[in-house]
Symmetry: C2
Subunit: 251 residues, 2 copies
């Protein structure tokens, strides 16, 4: 049996000056970027990364992401992200994360759910059969004591704002990239919200792709001063993603 | 005398998937971010970084940046940025850069101009006197065969668009960060411009700070299909920065 050290990927970062917000703490968009990169590193190093999958006409698609935090690294501080596979189902795999500060204290966790799709048919692939069940050997029983991504429902039918998907939003596949949605959603809130409350938990459910020139509208249900449910639609009709933000109680 | 290896800083990167554009090439915003970080690394390693300066109540302020490119790294490719000090004047220092692709071929250069200011008075400091002229010993006579940042003039008085400075725009000093301006300026242009021409040269002149909630308006003089001069104003009056973009001729 493989030991856990080989199964868990560990990646070191430093909080760069243009990656921190007004408070000097790493932004959630940048953290999201790192988490997704770590998934790429971890899977590539173990033979089931996107490059390898592409050879067989498959690719990974991020479905859900949930991040829960006690703290975030401060400008110039080192931090470490660990990632591992928690479960492999037929159509989805659960990949978890732990975030450690400069003193190796765990300051947060994240959960993500991924599907593998066929690049031609865009249909999901069977993860258990693929590569003879290779991925399953990397499953680790490491605790990730945060709730799974939840089902997000938004009921308002009036968007609070909209924007047009621009050049810097678009990734190599011609889609608005997953990190840009996180940033656009954070930008819906006033700076004071981050100053006096800060984000406790952030969830993303990626539903469909949007494209250059699309009008992206943002629908927000404020449950109370803590919890917000957000839906992003393209061109006023198709749901692109949903998000749930839980802020801390006011200091 | 110190040899050039000690004077020139060399930093390795990889083009991350969320840092490349629709064409798979690194975005100029991300390159700008890396260039500014390299300045930080290089100066810190040599004892004249921001942290050291802050102790004496001084800080570095970026005044100008010019980037000229033959190519950019493709997704997942390694690349290297070298940086060095070309000149130290009384009120400014010239820091240059060379960008090398995965095969160590030089694919671009950059020039930057920095001032040092007193954090209390916001007045410029004398760079030649500071630290007993320490910085001057790092001057290197390495070629940087691109034009110096030019004087940018914008004559139009009608902005083509405007936006509000939001949460993710703001840095630890409470200012819209230098990289965000680059991204907002790139987003003024249609994706087709990048697809069929690509950026040959990009210049930024940072004039004044802008703040959270500021209305940023974008004034654009199109000289022809190649060259554009851009001015960004806060709240319709104060010039914040100017930019010049020179695209390649159409393919």
């Amino acid at each position: 049996m493989m030991d856990n050290d080989k199964k868990i990927g560990s990646y070191k970062y430093v909080a760069e000056p243009f990656h921190v917000d007004f408070s000097g703490k790493l932004t959630l968009g940048v953290l999201g970027n790192h988490l997704l990169n770590c998934a790429g590193f971890h899977s590539s190093e173990r033979g089931f990364g996107i490059a390898k999958l592409n050879e067989d006409n498959y690719t990974w698609v991020l479905s859900r992401l949930a991040i829960e935090l006690d703290d975030l690294p401060y400008q110039y501080e080192n931090f470490t992200i660990q990632t591992w596979v928690e479960n492999v189902y037929r159509l989805f795999t659960d990949r978890n994360y732990a975030i450690y500060d400069k003193d190796d204290k765990c300051i947060g966790y994240a959960r993500s759910v991924w599907a593998m799709i066929n690049l031609n048919t865009r249909k999901p692939a069977n993860l258990i059969e693929l590569h003879g069940g290779d991925i399953s050997q990397y499953i680790v029983d490491k605790p990730c004591p945060i709730d799974k991504p939840s089902r997000i429902k938004v009921s308002t039918t009036t968007p609070i704002t909209h924007l047009e998907a621009k050049y810097t939003d678009i990734d190599i596949n011609g889609h608005v990239n997953s990190v840009c949605y996180i940033e656009h959603i954070l930008d819906l809130f006033p700076l004071e919200k981050f100053k006096y409350q800060g984000v406790k938990r952030f969830e993303m459910a990626y539903v469909a792709e949007s494209y250059y020139g699309d009008k992206l509208s943002f629908y927000v249900d404020a449950v109370d001063e803590i919890e917000y449910h957000i839906e992003v639609k393209r061109n006023d009709e198709q749901v692109v993603c949903r998000s749930k933000i839980i802020f801390n109680t006011k200091k």
